[in-house]
Structures are given as C-alpha cells and as structure tokens.
Amino acid sequence: MNDIKQKKNFNIILYLEQFIDRFKLPLAVSSAVLLLIFPHLLTNQYILTIVVKVGIYIILALGLNILTGYVGLVSLGHAGFVAIGAYTASLLATRLGLGFFLSMLCGMICAGIAGILLGLPTLRLSGTYLSIVTLGFGEIIKTIAMNWDSVTNGTLGVKNIPSPSIFGLKLTIANGGFYYLMLVMLLIVTLFCYVTYKSRTGRAFLAIKTDEMAGIMMGINVTYYKVLAFVLSACICASAGALYASLIGYIDPNTFTFDVSTMILSIVILGGMGTIRGMFIGSIILITFPELSRSLMDYRFVVYGLILVLMMRFRPQGLLGWKSQMPYKLSKSITRKLEQARSDKQENLSQ
C-alpha cells in the first residue's frame, strides 16, 4: 500500500518537473511580467508592504538555508546577523550619510566577520548543542544593541533611516521603487544560492551534511566549508536586515528578537530544507498567514502552531522538500563526448 502511494507521489513530482522543464521559457517570461507589473495592479500600499516583507523573508530564509539546509547546522540565532546588518547599515546611513548600497555592503561585511567569529569556535558542535550556542549569539547581539547606548542609541533605537535611492530617485513603497529593489536583491540572492549549490562548494556542503567523516576522507576541508557557510549565511541575512531597516525606517533591539530567528527557521523547515523553491512557498505562507487570518484574532497563533505540528507529522521533509526526479543534467559537450566514445566503441566491436 505504502509502496503504491510513494510511486504515485513520485510520478506527480516527475510530471511537474517535466512540465516546468518543457515550458521553461513561457513560465519564466509570464512570471517575470507578472512580478514586474504587480505594483501597478494594486492601489493598496498595505498589500505591497506585505509583499515586500515576504520578499525580505525569502532572502532571510535563503540565507539560513545555506547553513541549515545545505550544511545541516541548525541556527536559532540568525536574528543576530540580521541585527548586525540592519544596525550597521542604518547607523552608517543616519550618522555618516552613506548611501544605501555602501552601508548595506558594510553591514554584510560586519555580519560576515561575526559569522567567522561564531563559526570557528562552534566547529565541533552540531545538533542541539550548536543551536544553543547560536541562540546565545542572537541574544548577545540583541543585548549589545540594547546597552551600547553611545552607538546604537540603546532601547530608543535608530530613527529616520533614509530610504534607499538610486541617482537621486528615492525608492519607496509609495512609488513602487522599493518593491523593485527587493525584487532585484531577491533575484541576485536566489541566483547566488543556485550557482553555489550547483558547484563543488554545494556538493561539499551536502557531503558534510550527510556524512562528515566520509567528507573528510574525500579530502573536503570541513573547517573551511563550515565557516564559509556561516559567512555566506550571515552576509545574506545582513543584506536583508539592511533592506528591512530602510523599509520600516526605524529599528530598535526588539525588532530582532528570538521570534525572528524562529520565524526564519520555520520558513526553512516548512518550505523544505535544502531547496530554493521551498523558501518562497514557506515565506509566502508564514508571512501572509498572520495577515490573512486577522479575523481569527488571538486564535490565529493556535492555528499557526497547529499547521506546523501537522506539517512535521505528515510532511517532515517540508512542503516542497522533494528531491528532483529528473535525470542529472549533463552539459552538451559531455553528451557529445559520451556519444563519441560510444560510437567509437561500437566501431571497434564491429571491426
């Protein structure tokens, strides 16, 4: 019985993947057009703000996914990296008047350094032990932001964070510019995750996740790749943090609580660890749900919890957490070479 069910699932995924593969171009073009004209279809800024927030959380989830989904290190303190990115960027923007992109870059560098500092001492930790340390890291960053009054302005937070601007044009929600900025950043981060995944770096990440010992025996420098994952993850989350700060225009230490960390982790788990598509569906569901279910009032968190519990019970790999059933994609030059080799062999046989 179970076998039959699995077989059926298998086919659905394969059909879906084949469908997407066959209609790649029209699907890509239509979704691109849809995403580009989206702000013009709306008169409601509230919805656009939520959409931008969804986008920011997709970036965050993609960042955490590198660490948790690829390398298998569960972090409960990613709000810390978000905070570093957001604070660095907004302090540089408000106090020194740096442009958005430069200050975001500085935030990413700071978070990257923090990633090294967190990654190196925790190399030998995994599972729950690592989660506890990262949990502590998140709290430390929050506490620093709260108490380092002279720099972070303490609990009062940073106010009047300017909107990003390109060539003097302010990108805000009202003129839709912020939405496009988010879209561009999301595209860059998604592509980055994809190319990293489909390279020896990605294979090394997955090897470490499945069997660290076997990975070492294949000559993979586990220290390097674990720290690299921490750094990449921190940088991506910091960029989203900077984006978030300039969206809201105000941050304080309570913007980056433990709830943010668990939200990012929930998205990764709900969507499907180690997949890119999962991060999209995960944030769409988890970020829009509280907004859609305002009629449930206080009960919405009960429903929210219930969704997560049911998901863990019936689909622990995540909503879209399947493995691709399509054949491994070979580049054209390899297919040509292989066919050449095969025909050579046949010639030899016939002679």
Partner: protein, 256 residues
Amino acid sequence: MAYLQVNEITKRFGGIVAVDKVSFEVNKGEIVSIIGPNGAGKTTVFNMLTGVYTIDEGEIVFDGKPIHNQKPQDIVKVGISRTFQNIRLFYDLRVVENVLVGTHINTNYNFFDSVFRTPRFRKEEDDKVYNAIRILQSIGLDNRRDDYAQNLPYGDQRKLEIARAIATGAKVLLLDEPAAGMNPQESAELLQFIRSLKVQGYTVIMIEHDMSVVMNISDRIYVIDHGKPIAKGIPSEIANNERVIEAYLGGVNINA
C-alpha cells in the same frame, strides 16, 4: 623501499594497545590483504593510514615520503583513499554526484569561478563530470547514474564507494571489508572487479573476512590478532599457518 612502507606503528587508547608494532609493506600494483579476528585492530590500522588517528609510534612512508600524522585531506591528496566497513555514502546525492564529491580534491576552480560561471569553471566541471561517468562506466554503474545513492542495492552501494575512492585520483585504495554482506555471486563479481583494478595499475590494500575472496585474490596476506602481527606470507602459507588457525579457531588443528 616498498611503495607503501609501514614501520612498527603503534596506537594506544588510554591503557589499551589497539595496534602494537604492526609493520607491513606494499609494492606498487599489489593486492595485499590484512586479516584477523574481530577486534584485532585492522580498521584501526586503516584509520592510522588515512590520518583519522594519529600514530603513537612508528612511521608510515608512502612513495618515499613520510605521511603519518598528517591531516586526512593531505593524505588523500598524496594518493591514498579508502572505503568504509559500514557503507558511508552521501545518500542524499545522486550516484554521479557522489563520484563528483570524490573529485573535489582535484578541482581547482575557486568559489568566485563557480559564482560567476567562468570558462574555467565550465571546463573543469565538464571534465570532472565526464571523468565521473567514465569511472561509473568502468565499474558498471552507469545505468544508475541518476539514481540517489540511498536507492541503490547493497552491492552497488559498495561499488559506488569504490568508485568514489577512485575519483579522488588515488593510486592506493584501502578497501575495508568490501565483500561484507554480499551474496556469493556478488562477491564473485567483486573479485573480478578488484582484479581489474590491479590490471589498471591500482594498488589495493584490503581488510576482508570472506576467505574465498582473500585467498583468491591476494598477492600477500598479513594477519593481525589482538593488535599484534602474527603472520605474513602468500595465501597458501597463511592457510596452513598454525598461529593463524589458532587465532581464528582457538587452537584446534584442522590440518590433519
């Protein structure tokens, strides 16, 4: 001096001497087996050879250079690779990707090459994939190239482990019980396969309990018991060695 020379290596875990002054030598292109009862310290020897454990005494010299107490990555780079007693594949990866992880050490493009998909990345990645497919073809796993490693039958998983070890570019393969859990037909196939490795110029060191495999294929055999070397020689000598029979069967002489 032999290709791989192991001189009186010793490993202690606290008060327990797991491996006590074990020496052996392996010439290029040989198949050498290490046998011994359970708990004799055979896998510990492999772990010392591959840098998982440091050695307390002695030395390991490969191709004229000492390699003991180096990092596992460096030892793989020198050209020694291994398989595991309990299969340790990357189960979430495809068969071809498992082999590609093996090529990791010989891949020279850096992180930025992969991010920007430079010509160097494309060329090297193509070379590696082609190489991986050739290895899979030679091992008879090409038809399962796209499968995930966890879906392979047991015998194929063992083969894939060997393929992955070959992909590192190793010249010496350490096989830890390659025939464990195989049925007679599978182990006969394995026998053929290991012979073909020898023909291709690989040096094989093997831990194995299946005597039909060991006696058929080995050029020389070393026997360890309780961490100590007790015998060495060609298969026919070992089969009649009293100390070996004693170690395995507990002192009953079955020669008569």
